[in-house]
Amino acid sequence: MLIGAVIAGIFFGLYFTLVGLGLNLVFGVMRIVNLAHGDVLMLGGVAAWALFTSLGLHPMVSAILVLVVFLVAGLPLYYAVVPRLLRSRDSEMLSLILFFGLSQMIEAMTTISIGATERSLPPRLMGIGPIIIFGTRLPKAWFYSAAASAIAVLAVYFYLYRTRLGTLTRAVMVSRDEALATGIDVNKVSAVAFGISLALAGIAGVFAPFIMGSITPNMGVAINLTAFAVIVVGTLGNPLGTLLGGIIYGVSLMLMQTYLSSWANLLPNLLLIGVLLIRPEGILGRKVRRA
């Protein structure tokens, strides 16, 4: 049972890497906390559900559409909200309030549009039957979502370290003011990062019905809590830390479900408290701040 829990935890954790990646990118570049991140993920799931039920689109196709649409939608949303927020005296705190409001609006509008009950996609779309790894039976959807997560992590790294815009993004991550002083179009760089963040959340949302059974308009808050645990454990602002945080979360959750199942929902809070007490900068903290 131990090996099974660890293997399942790694795959499950990879999905939560995908969930936390966008949130971490926004914090790293803009130093704001997007409390609507979980709701954007939910919208990705709703989009996949709507595209399947109305047009019969396979979720993999929907994932590509969601990627493009959410990326593009992120640009005007950034210019409408973030620059003004960053000009305020306490942008981190105000971002909490602003994005909490946005989160509530998204949840309410989705509830009005599709109702409050569960929505899902047929399991057969990702293939019926398990993938067996070292005797552990895992749903095929876990494999696909882990693969999508791995691709996303690699793509984010490619973007950050192999593209010009990525280099500028890293410069903004180190110091927004210095980047501005050197003539970097900080808003352009940040808007693209914001769009990528929404796109990553949207893709995670497409896989959500297969990982969590179903999607509901109110799922955003719980997703946010888990995503925060993942990125704080890994290190705020560091995409590689998100990968580590996701796997730690996934493995810990599966071990809790195996040996102390009644207390499993305490895990995100325990991880957050533990990391904040012992290593507040996160496991990969130092490296990032000096990158």
Binding site: E118, P123, W142, M212, G213
Partner: protein, 420 residues
């Protein structure tokens, strides 16, 4: 002459008194009866709360269309219903505040709890403290009921300590004959399913036929069961009982199918209770041959009061057409059935005093037959009449399943098929 006049005036006075007497006996009728209710439009309990709320509104609208409820306590006058409903968003903290508000600010005449044990649990002590009778729609947690608390009655579902007994009876009886020897119980840790799980464990331990080899609770917000199912499979049980809310059952059934693990007997609460909702989310193949309770939405009881199931469903679909967001299921029937209990209570109560309401509700026990079966209360207010048969979702044509009652034999309309 004087004596004649005196006699005449006495006769007239007595006549006037006789005419006025009934009017004086009946207290002044209120302009409306206020009923307070909570519902959850969002959150994990929305799928069991909204059908109850919508169905209850349907009853209110129908009743008001007739001019209201005919109340004997007010000389048979029809009095309209005013519904005051608040959205607790599936939050127990919000629900506690709103129960208080309904009682202390809105001064409602009748109080209805939100659906399910979790959101009812906070209302029980508040109602008791304020001596307000609580119409508990489907909060079946055993801890809610005690003989020293007269301010509660369970409407629609049987109390959790007796509700699951057909499951253990079946497994100990027909299951045992078919070779079922071990059972795994996985439950969500809340009043509703926790009590049922404890009751089932007790039944199995008492009867000493089927052995419990796995007994674990998980948080109610659990959305992934893959590792739990693998852990259960490692114990190799013949039967698996998963007791959770709608979201739990959806995730469990999907993960079970994805895992490829197979057990001879698999039970979920909402596979049958909210059949349409579950089918929509997990697909027909994932529920085929699983077991569940057979609620009134899938079983034809002959009502003596109110609509039949078919008539109610037609009324529901007229008011809430397909696509309006709330699926028809057992909880819709519970909401309408609560309306019928309230109707009969108001018709017969001596007054709107909460103990008179209590007496009127308990007077219906064993006598009220609705589309949900026979309404019967224990002394402490727990529902004991409407015990649901055990059913199985058996294949029906191409890509469909029907819920067949398989136990007890006197209620069965089909035979159980156990896996190999």
């Amino acid at each position: 002459m004087r004596s004649k006049l005196l006699a005449l005036s006495m006769f007239a006075a007595s006549g006037i008194a006789a005419v006025l007497a009934p009017a004086q006996a009946a207290p002044a009728a209120p302009s409306q009866i206020t009923i307070g209710e909570l519902y959850a439009s969002s959150g994990p309990y929305a799928s069991i709360s909204m059908p109850v709320y919508d169905a209850f509104k349907l009853w209110v609208d129908e009743t008001n269309a007739k001019g209201g409820v005919e109340m004997a306590a007010f000389g048979g006058k029809r009095i309209p219903i005013k519904l005051i409903a608040y959205d607790d968003q599936s939050s127990t903290a919000t629900a506690a505040t709103l129960y208080n508000q309904l009682i202390t600010q809105d001064h409602v005449d009748l109080l209805i709890a939100d659906s399910g044990s979790v959101l009812t649990s906070v209302g029980v002590p508040i109602a008791r403290e304020h001596k307000q009778f609580l119409f508990d729609v489907s909060g079946t947690g055993a801890a809610f009921f005690s003989e020293d608390n007269p301010y509660i009655a369970l409407m629609a579902d049987p109390v959790s300590t007796i509700w699951p007994h057909y499951i253990s009876d079946f497994l100990n009886d027909e299951g045992y004959k078919e070779g079922i020897r071990t059972v795994a119980i996985l439950y969500s840790t809340n009043d509703f399913t926790g009590t049922q799980a404890a009751a089932l464990k007790g039944f199995f331990e008492r009867d000493k036929k089927v052995k419990v080899v796995y007994y674990q609770g998980v948080p109610t917000n659990t959305s992934n069961y893959t590792v739990l199912i693998n852990n259960i499979a490692a114990q190799n049980p013949d039967a698996v009982l998963e007791l959770g809310y709608v979201g739990n059952d959806i995730a469990f059934l999907r993960n079970l199918q994805d895992s490829g693990n197979q057990f001879r007997f698999v039970f979920t609460i909402y596979g049958g209770t909210e059949k349409e909702e579950i089918e929509k989310n997990v697909g027909v193949s994932a529920v085929t041959n699983t077991f569940s309770y057979v609620p009134a939405s899938n079983y034809e009881y002959k009502p003596e009061v109110g609509m039949t199931q078919k008539e109610f469903r037609a009324a529901w679909e007229k008011k809430y057409p397909s696509g309006s967001g709330v699926a028809f299921g057992a909880n819709a029937i519970y909401g309408y059935m609560t309306g019928l209990v309230i109707q009969r209570t108001l018709e017969t109560t001596k007054s709107l005093d909460q103990m008179d309401i209590h007496d009127a509700v308990f007077a219906l026990s064993g006598k009220l037959k609705t589309l949900d079966g026979t309404f019967e209360l224990r002394k402490d207010g727990a529902q004991i009449g409407e015990v649901t048969p055990l059913g199985q979702l058996q294949p029906a044509g191409k890509n469909d399943v029907k819920l067949v009652a398989v136990y007890p034999p006197d209620l069965a309309n089909g035979k159980a098929v156990l896996g190999k």
